[in-house]
């Protein structure tokens, strides 16, 4: 048996034993690469995800809502920071990760390529998008890579607050005037299917799932998580008194789950490939912020170098 295979066996044994893998531990190159891809994709999603919600900060309908939304979007920037730091433990810099995002090499969650067209979309995103994210992230708090799992614990706490805040926006709209309820229904109509798409392709079309489950990066498959989301969300929509836009949605007594209709996979792949309604403008907003900020970052580095040199001179 080659030394490499021995190491891999020992690595798998640790994972099977539910031990966490830490940055300085030996790990297969593919495990490291998979994690860089997944954690950075998650970090990019937080940062790009600031944009559709940021779109309503200046137009929020009350001071209380404005503060809530602003704080939420700020939390997402904070999540981005922890996640970039977690990815950096695997030997890649934040600048390299940004570069992958800006050149289109790295992906982020497709949901953020949909536009926010009304205030109700802010409620729908909190309720559905954060709701779907939590299902995925609760699973990830038990993922095998230590820094990622720990970042997730903290993020999950804040996300569940966001989700409740979003649902509360929806509830206020649904208990309000008819045009407010119509706004809520319209937001659900537009965000329902993209939310289901957040769990990724069907298991049968998801080549990475098997290895990810073996390494305990994932503990449930895309289809299992999607089903869990539907089962949780249907009663919530009923309580709001709005209708999920799926004629095939019905309770299946035998399975103990809701059956639901087929996702438009053509749309899913089109958005993944960059042809969604807002892909170009989202990426452009990130690239612009980065490029327009270059002189600021250079100034900060130059200034701190000057200060350090002065200190060295003084102590010399």
């Amino acid at each position: 048996m080659s030394p490499e295979i021995k190491l891999e066996d020992a690595f798998q044994a640790r994972i099977d034993d539910e031990q966490k893998i830490e940055p300085k531990d030996w790990m297969p190159e593919k495990y490291r690469k998979t994690h860089i891809r997944q954690i950075s994709q998650h970090a990019h999603s937080e940062i790009v995800g600031m944009l559709p919600e940021g779109n309503w900060i200046t137009r929020a309908p009350s001071l209380k809502r404005k503060l809530g939304l602003l704080a939420k979007v700020q939390d997402e920037a904070g999540h981005g920071l922890y996640l970039y730091s977690a990815a950096e433990t695997l030997g890649i810099s934040r600048d390299e990760l940004f570069d992958q995002l800006h050149t289109g090499k790295a992906k982020y969650s497709s949901i953020f390529n949909y536009p926010t067209l009304s205030w109700a979309d802010i409620g729908a995103i909190g309720w559905l998008v954060d709701g779907a994210a939590i299902i995925n992230q609760v699973m990830l708090t038990r993922t095998s890579y230590g820094p990622y799992a720990r970042a997730m614990v903290r993020i999950c706490k804040e996300e569940s607050f966001h989700q409740r805040q979003g649902y509360e926006i929806m509830l206020t709209l649904c208990q309000g005037m008819p045009e407010q309820k119509a706004m809520a229904q319209d937001a659900l109509n537009r965000f329902w299917w993209p939310s289901l798409m957040m769990f990724g392709p069907r298991d049968s079309d998801s080549p990475n799932t098997e290895q990810s489950v073996k390494w305990k990066i994932k503990r449930k498959t895309n289809d299992e998580l999607r089903q869990q989301f539907v089962d949780i969300t249907v009663p919530q929509a009923e309580y709001l008194g709005i209708t999920i836009p799926d004629p095939d949605l019905k309770w299946n007594e035998d399975r103990g789950h809701y059956d639901f209709g087929e996702i438009d996979w053509e749309e899913f792949w089109q958005v993944v490939k960059g042809n969604g309604p807002c892909n170009k403008e989202r990426l452009k907003a990130r690239v612009d912020a980065w490029e327009e900020g270059a002189w600021v970052r250079e100034a900060a580095v130059a200034y701190s170098t000057k200060i350090k040199n002065n200190e060295v001179k003084r102590t010399a």
Binding site: R59, L63, G293, A299
Partner: protein
């Protein structure tokens, strides 16, 4: 209703409202994640202060007035913020210099207002003072970084100073309402802040070679409700929902 007290609260609250709005426009677009988070924090602090001032103003005004009717349902001439805070986010240097010119006055003003005879104003000032000290530390450090960073950052910051400094005098010039509120022991006499304000500002500028010519823009009369064209666009966005869907709960 005590018209002077009501307007005084608006003078205090509107600066935070409009500057908070300008900073909130930047959320998600900062040069680094850290500065994005910090500027959003300042914006959150300012909006928190706005709520305190407007809730009190709504109580003074009575009728069916609320913090939101005061924030969202006034017209251009009924906002009393200084011209400085409605200036655009032209680039990061403008954002920082605008913030610094505001923070340097804000901290002095709040220190003084903690002694106000009006207990509510004194309490708001006490709470906001801690925040404003942090804001001033942040903005003054960034003025230094940009002013003494690279040639490009120095030049951009100098240009921002030239554009914004002529509006600064409005922050330390009394309107008749401020004078009357000071006579009642409620408000601050801004004349008393002038010397220290200019010293704080000029010291930081001089430390990094930024030149502020002694220019005063004579049209800086925001506290009397005379604004630039920019305010109308800010209000267009700010008030959109309340105007399009009147009398609803959100």
């Amino acid at each position: 209703m005590d018209q002077d007290l009501y307007k005084y609260l608006l003078i205090l609250g509107d600066n935070s409202m409009i500057l908070g709005h300008r900073l909130s426009e930047l959320c998600g677009h900062g040069p680094t994640l850290e500065t994005d988070i910090a500027l959003t924090n300042i914006s959150l602090d300012l909006f928190g202060q706005v709520r305190s001032y407007y809730q009190y103003a709504a109580k003074i005004k009575g009728e069916e007035s609320t913090e939101d009717s005061i924030a969202f349902l006034r017209t251009e001439r009924q906002y009393y913020n200084c011209i400085l805070v409605e200036q655009e986010n032209t680039n990061f240097a403008h954002v920082i210099v605008r913030q610094f010119l505001f923070d340097a006055q804000h901290q002095l003003l709040l220190e003084s207002l903690t002694q106000s005879q009006d207990e509510t104003i004194a309490a708001i000032a006490q709470k906001s003072l801690k925040e404003s000290k942090y804001h001033l530390r942040f903005s003054s450090e960034w003025v230094k970084r940009l002013g003494d960073g690279t040639e490009e950052s120095h030049q951009k910051t100098q240009e921002a100073v030239e554009h914004l400094y002529p509006f600064a005098h409005e922050l330390v010039t009394n309107t008749s309402i401020e004078t009357r509120m000071n006579e009642k022991g409620i408000g601050t006499n801004l004349d008393d802040l002038k010397e220290e304000y200019y010293k704080t500002v000029i010291d930081v500028f001089e430390e990094v070679g930024l030149v502020a010519k002694d220019l005063k823009n004579r049209f800086a009369k925001g506290k009397s409700g005379q604004h630039t064209e920019r305010l109308g666009y800010i209000l267009g966005e700010l008030q959109y929902m309340q105007r399009a869907y009147p009398n609803m709960q959100w």
